[in-house]
């Protein structure tokens, strides 16, 4: 690395497409680049040593700040790098860094700049200017500090996707059911405008009127064929913000073209994983997806099934669309998981109960739920700020639900369900992993696949889902009856823990069966029944497994 090198730091639970796309651009410009994995605080020491305790430190360090909930660690890393003596140019980028660029640069002088919006070209120009000792403060697409004030430089249009190189890949990658898995995108942006999501605002800000762009089909097919033939990839996980176009006929045309392009490239057996909005799920489109593009799993963003929630979350669809989507999914027998934002600023007891009925109807699918959060750049944050209801600050916004009964229900729920929904090895992800195992087994080993695996998995999902609904209803009743929060939490946690244990035992039995029959390592942990992670002394392995499940089978 004679002319110096660039470090791109961020999570790599799976191949980080954002960082690897930037790395590909830098490499194409002849600038050596390394991805430095930083999945969590436990890697602080390793990351710091890699970036500072070397005779050849990087001259530019890019810190990925896509997710707001990881900002504490990543901004902390910037401080730690300076304290450890790094003199590299520190920049950051990603959704959160872009929307909070002024606040971040004001509060964290350790950072020199922020690459706003899509940084494919900005990072190359910045690195080139730094390496050549030229001025960089005027480059388009940056937030910089000049005379102590934060200045946003000229806006940079989003790049043409057809002009971009494919993300860099390693020789080895994540392997699931004996097949290498690779994430990829066929587009950037989303046609929707949900109030809790910053994607539309992000793309609208960069290129007004063009909030989603697609890669040429042949380019996508060429990348998939390359990954399949050269790197042995058998599972393609599409991480498009939205894999679909607004109209069914356009989706049919595009997906047919992709299927034909892949068939012409003679891929062997492969599977795809996609994300969809409920309105994208039509019989024609999803039949095409499953039959010709070998889709084994769809994340469907249900989020809410009430008139109130659909308005608050600005989902842009009518009541009934969710139900029809789930009917299509069930008819095709496709593995689907979904998330519900049961709590939003306007949730009422009636709307919460309505959403619980939806969960009950579809509890044979794995799902999770939580409260909608106020993320930077989202219309919902703007609304709550205008209404004077957003508390906290740019690093972490908070709010109270307008209905005090629901606010109290949320508080009890948050305490009671933390372990099941978001804990170290949450049962909600156990069912997701198990359903994934069954779907992959059915796709890749149809001759040895057993229908009992699916029946039992759906039964396990239903046990967990119905238990969640039952406990939520009990919490609602308890709050209405004036019960104390600690008492309700304690009672709920006891029931949830008991059911979680049963679910883990049943899931382990199916996973063991699958392992015996197929000889594959399952996504579902098969040591999940009796001991806690600490008792097992295998926290890292379990965390890794949960992370893998999340990266593959959560949104």
């Amino acid at each position: 690395m004679g002319q110096g090198w660039v470090a791109l730091v961020g999570p790599e639970l799976e191949e980080n497409l954002s960082l690897r796309s930037l790395a590909a651009m830098l490499e194409r410009a002849g600038i050596s680049t390394r991805i430095v994995r930083f999945d969590g605080a436990a890697q602080f020491g390793t990351v710091l040593a890699t970036l500072t305790q070397t005779d050849d430190p990087p001259f530019l360090i890019g810190i990925s700040l896509a997710f707001q909930w990881r900002a504490m660690e990543l901004l902390g890393l910037a401080i730690a790098l300076r304290e450890a003596g790094s003199s590299a140019h520190l920049t950051s980028g990603g959704h959160f860094a872009t929307f909070a660029s002024t606040e971040i640069l004001s509060d964290f002088p350790e950072l020199d700049s922020i690459c706003r919006q899509e940084a494919d070209e900005t990072i190359v120009e910045l690195a080139t200017a730094l390496r050549e000792g030229r001025a960089w403060q005027q480059l388009p697409g940056l937030a910089v500090r000049i005379d102590g004030k934060v200045v946003l430089t000229e806006k940079r249009p989003s790049p043409e996707l057809a002009s971009l190189p494919w993300p860099v890949r390693d020789a080895e990658g994540m392997v699931v059911h004996g097949r290498r898995l690779a994430p990829l995108v066929s587009s950037r942006g989303c046609y929707a405008n949900c109030s809790f999501c910053c994607i539309a605002a992000w793309h609208e800000a960069a290129t007004p009127g063009k909030r989603y762009r697609f890669r040429p089909i042949d380019d996508v097919a060429d990348e998939m064929a390359h990954l399949h033939h050269e790197l042995g990839v058998g599972i393609f996980v599409f991480h498009d913000d939205n894999f679909f176009l607004p109209r069914e006929r356009d989706n049919l045309e595009r997906l047919t073209a992709l299927a034909e392009a892949l068939e012409a490239r003679t891929l062997g057996r492969y599977a795809t994983v996609i994300k969809a909005r409920p309105m994208d799920v039509t019989p024609k489109v999803f039949s095409l997806l499953t039959e010709r593009l070998h889709c084994v799993r769809a994340y469907v963003g249900i989020e809410t099934d009430t008139d109130q929630g659909l308005v608050t979350l600005r989902r842009g669809l009518r009541k009934g669309v969710n139900e029809r989507a789930m009917e299509v999914i069930d008819e095709l027998g496709l593995f689907v998981s979904f998330n519900m934002l049961l709590f939003d600023p306007d949730t009422t007891v009636a709307s919460l109960e309505e959403n619980l009925r939806f969960l009950e109807r579809h509890a044979h699918h794995p799902f999770n739920f939580g409260r909608v959060e106020l993320y930077a750049g989202t219309p919902l944050l703007g609304r709550m700020q205008r209404e004077g209801r957003a508390s906290g600050d740019w690093l972490l916004w908070n709010y109270s639900i307008s209905d005090p009964t629901i606010q109290r229900v949320f508080e009890v729920t948050n305490d009671a369900f933390y372990d099941r929904n978001f804990g170290a090895d949450p049962a909600a992800y156990v069912t997701m992993a198990l359903r994934g195992d069954v779907a992959l087994a059915r796709h890749f080993s149809p001759e040895r696949w057993r229908p009992r695996w699916l029946e039992e998995t759906q039964s396990i999902c239903r046990q967990l889902g119905e238990d969640s609904v039952q406990v939520l209803r009990r919490i609602i009743d308890g709050v209405r009856g004036g019960r104390s929060r600690p008492a309700m939490v304690a009672e709920a946690k006891a029931q949830l823990a008991q059911t979680d244990l049963e679910v883990r035992r049943r899931a382990k039995a199916v996973a063991d069966d699958l392992h015996r029959e197929l000889g594959v390592d399952t996504l579902t942990s098969r040591d999940i029944d009796l001991a806690t992670p600490l008792q097992l002394g295998r926290t890292d392995e379990r965390a890794e497994r949960v992370a893998r499940t999340r990266s593959v089978f959560s949104e």
């Binding site: 504490m72 902390g76 401080i79 508390s391 948050n414 999340r550 949104e555």
Partner: protein
Amino acid sequence: MSDDRKQEPVIPSLRTPRERVVDHLRTALSVGVASVLVTGTTSCIVADPPPPASACLAGTVVSKLRASVAPIGAEIELTLSSTELTLQPATTPPQILSGGQVRSHLASGNVSTTTIIPSGGVIELHVDLVCVNRSGATDLSLVRVVLTPLNADAGTPDGGAPNYRVDISNP
């Protein structure tokens, strides 16, 4: 953009984003990371092993705390306050010790926790605090609060509202 973030309990904070990031960094570094780093604006040097929490502030935190106890129905509320320090609950999960579920919340610079009144006996609570002194130095401190019932029937259905002796110490 949505993500599958962990839904941590959200507690509003009086500290600035930078102060919270510094605290987070210091906590992260104190958990098994062999590095010696000065953490930004605080007066602490984070080392491996880290210094005792109270060393970051002049004097001990415990000596600067006051406690009050208020039975509320089947629960008891403990409020920690200080004339010298601004207190906030650390954003850790609720502590569960003897006495049942505890939840911390912010109340005008004090920290209150509630717990179910047990059927008699001593209640021992461990409370994670973020303490900020007048010069802005910030510290994380874990304090032990022991509540000893003064009337024998305290907490029982017939015992009425219990009175407690409060002892605060370092754990």
